[in-house]
Symmetry: C2
């Protein structure tokens, strides 16, 4: 095959193209600053050349811990452009957890947003050769915590580096571009290996499924460290869409930025939009200024949130995936014929996590003998996937890789059903199925009932170990401000709507503990109970 006919797939090609094609369109907005694609490309080239000057090259790893700021976006290009892989770390983890990840990843250079520098304990990071400190324009968002690290200032690194673009030569498009550590609910963090090829394909799927183009404005409600922002860190670049950065997804700031920048896209866990909905209600903000596409995943969205967002001009794109699938793998692919259904029918369909997106691959729901469960929308099995949107394995963890990858499929550990028509619906993490008196209770089913009560703001159900029942159904409920309801009243409410055995036997009241990705930390609740 002539060499003219084959180019390795890499999302870096999107930046080169967009920087050339529309250099003067706005790439990034952050508070009162903005950068064009030409500016952004210039800064990325400087970052890449600066890192090369520090000895970074093919096969190296460079870690970054940062909130959603422009340097975090730049790092998604500047680091891979050297041939290294980016390790974007959750800044909400403890210093110990961060140390574990940095050490497992063997990163030689660590970039640190000084606003979260207290997560870095230099003493525990023997392999880090250089620290790069992101100070500029960042600290103003919050007071910088005390930190025990020293290093070169990020802006100074860029200033002293060349802005010459050197296209990365990839021998193999399956080369790692990122290593993403799962924000572990249990056990040691596992490093998911993302490839240039698969990110490229995932980006094209994002563009197509979410209708991203040069006019799009994406508000960063999703943490960029989380599956590299479900690959949106590379998606906006593909079409020259604008990124609006915000450090953390505060409901008031989301609402303000949507109005200010005519935001067209945002992504995140349901809880982010649930809170946005509450904020808008409380402040009598009725609607979004544009049609606003909301890419929701990470947890099944409450119906109320879906309805509320759509009422305001939002269009929920409901997706599902894991860190092992570059973020979302399936999407509730909307069918034109569904437009004419009733609101109830439409919302019920939208609650499904759907089908593999256009480039993802294949999904099945299987029983313990690896047989497909009947497509009846009722029989729960394990969701398994294969395709280009599945990682190559865990970094230097052959045993963990072997456990999750069997017979040519990746085993998600998530429980779901297959509906007639081939759409999946996630029922629960398997470990979150409550087995009480020999009966399986799907906690989301109980939670949905609790959400129907007018006083309930958030609710989770989990299994509390119990001598008699094995587990008993327990709930933690967070009430709306100014509302009151007793444990007894809520249990009666459930009993009027659910089989007795599914109803909570005990209910606590209080805040719901969540991971930074918005997933409820049920293991914490179980431990406490």
């Amino acid at each position: 095959m002539p060499s003219a006919s084959y180019e390795p797939l890499t999302p870096l090609s999107f930046l080169e193209r967009t920087a050339k094609v529309m250099p003067n369109e706005i790439a990034v907005i952050e508070k009162d600053k903005s950068w064009t694609w030409a500016d952004f490309f210039n800064r990325v080239n400087r970052l890449s050349n600066g890192l090369k000057g520090l000895g970074i090259s093919n096969g190296d790893h460079v870690a970054i811990i940062s909130r959603n700021f422009s340097p975090m976006l730049e790092a998604h290009y500047g680091i891979p452009m050297t041939g290294a892989a980016i390790v974007a770390i959750n800044y909400r983890l403890s210093a110990d957890e961060v140390s574990t990840i940095v050490n497992l990843s063997e990163a030689k250079v660590l970039l640190v947003d000084m606003g979260v520098a207290d997560r870095i304990d230099k003493e525990k990071l023997p392999n880090v050769e250089h620290y790069i400190l992101i100070n500029n324009g960042v600290i103003s968002y919050q007071e910088a915590p005390k930190a025990n690290i020293e290093g070169m200032d990020y802006e100074t690194l860029l200033e002293h580096a060349s802005d010459e673009y050197k296209r990365l030569h990839l021998d193999d498009e399956n080369t790692p571009i990122a290593i993403d550590y799962t924000s572990g609910t249990t056990g040691m963090p596992k490093g998911c290996i993302y490839s240039h090829r698969s990110v490229y394909l995932h980006v094209l799927a994002n563009v197509i499924e979410h209708k991203v183009d040069a006019y799009s404005v994406n508000l960063w409600t999703l943490p960029m460290f989380h599956c590299n922002g479900w690959c949106w860190t590379w998606t906006t670049t593909a079409t020259g869409a604008t990124n609006v950065c915000m450090p953390t997804p505060d409901a008031k700031e989301i609402s303000t930025l949507i109005q200010q920048h005519n935001v067209t896209h945002m992504a995140g866990a349901p809880i982010v939009f649930h809170r946005l909905s509450r904020y808008m209600n409380e402040n009598s903000i009725s609607s979004f200024p544009n049609k606003l596409i909301i890419d929701v995943a990470a947890a099944p969205p409450p119906k109320g949130m879906l309805l509320d967002m759509e009422k305001r001009g939002g269009v929920i794109h409901h997706a599902y995936g894991l860190t092992e699938t570059y973020g979302p793998f399936t999407i509730c692919e909307w069918q034109p014929a569904w437009d004419s259904l009733s609101e109830v029918e439409r919302i019920n369909l939208k609650m499904r996590q759907g089908v593999p997106d256009i480039t993802a691959g294949y999904v099945r729901v299987v029983n313990e003998n690896d047989e497909d469960v009947p497509a009846d929308g009722e029989t729960v099995g394990e969701i398994i996937m294969r395709g280009n949107d599945v990682i190559q394995g865990y970094y230097k963890s052959p045993e963990e890789t072997a456990k999750a990858f069997k017979n040519g499929w990746f085993y998600s550990g998530d429980g779901g059903v297959m509906h007639p028509g081939g759409y999946i619906e996630v029922k629960d993490r398997f470990k979150d199925v409550i087995i009480t008196g020999g009966e399986n209770v799907i906690s989301v089913e109980v939670e949905n009932i609790l959400y129907e009560h007018p006083a309930v703001y958030e609710a989770v159900c989990y299994g509390k170990p119990d001598e008699e029942w094995g587990e008993l159904v327990k709930a933690l409920v967070h009430l709306k401000p100014g509302h009151e309801v007793t444990e007894r009243e809520l249990i009666v409410f459930c009993k009027s709507r659910l089989s007795n055995y599914k109803c909570p036997k005990e209910i606590d009241f209080g805040e719901i503990p969540r991971t930074s990705a918005g997933k409820v930390q049920k293991y914490k609740l179980r431990q406490q109970s």
Copy 2:
């Protein structure tokens, strides 16, 4: 790498997905018939299994000669699903030309639309083992010509075959999916080898650049044999868009079908839409029922057509490519900032053929020493390309392949300029540059002036061999009905607008000869002159 993490790229995966995800949406409309994606998938599986029954398998070639009917679309899946490559042949060629292509391609099976069966001369096709005759619902469009072939009826083949889907197992995504013979302007036809991988990527680019989704309705104004309809034969399937078939692009029928089916997309050479514009004017049809995206390539579009289509609600997407680049390679990528320019400025920008589309690769304009010409919008050089959207070479033609592929680039043979900002503009096929008295005249420049005259319907310029001048500028002009203008008057008109040496010295009046792809056959004019 675990086998769960890699799937060879193939457009066949789009059909499997769409048939499963939206089986009840409409896939194909043809006259008063329509097929859902479930129907279409069923028919494709039957075709594939029927061909396997005839001995077709991996590495074989199956040819088809057909107008734009449903079986032609089905063949784009049914043939590759056996592991064979499809050879879609231009039905406007002579029987001798068709024989040459069928023999060069080594096709074992030939599918024939009986409406164009007079292009088939059985005596000259010693290698064809089976003929499959497409009769059903087709002949009604026109009287079937006499044919000397016998074979199995297409519908009978399908009826007797199993509808079981067997996913193609590809060892290598670079496996050929199609061989497209260039509708040669000179010399022997060359067979462009299309791969599964590159078609997949080209399809995703089509979806993104032309905003195709499940609501889209594509009218087949472009012949499906022409670069497999610029890969639109596989594009509509990717998102579950509807195909509206029409045998040939008749202006009246186009206009009727657009209104009848709320068409959102169509593609083709400028002449098709130029004629549509005339038809709509003559019949006082002011606008399209929807926003209608028109993918125009194959020749530089006249400004008047661009303006007229946009006035009616059309949005011209101006693209450029060759059979060697799966159809369009570049596109005039529209920049949001251009929206605020004046109409004249916008149309001038839209006349450019643009930049490589999102998955195509790289383009340059080089001089005879392979150096980039200055990006001044004036210096003409040869357009060269590289990337996944470039063919792997010509089938069994190592010499032709070596001629066109050099130093890692494909040499298009087309002349163009590079504008500041990186957009290319095609000036002419190199062989169509007129060299008169030592000066180069770009024929499209002269043609554009002729088009400004109110009496001119179509115009082409070419070089007529001349002892004194080397070549002299000659034009062929097709006048609008009811209009009159003399040769003298037109030459004076040109002289008032162009340098003397560029103006035609001779003008003939009459119909413009074109290839079936809409390209003007200037070599015929030169031969006649």
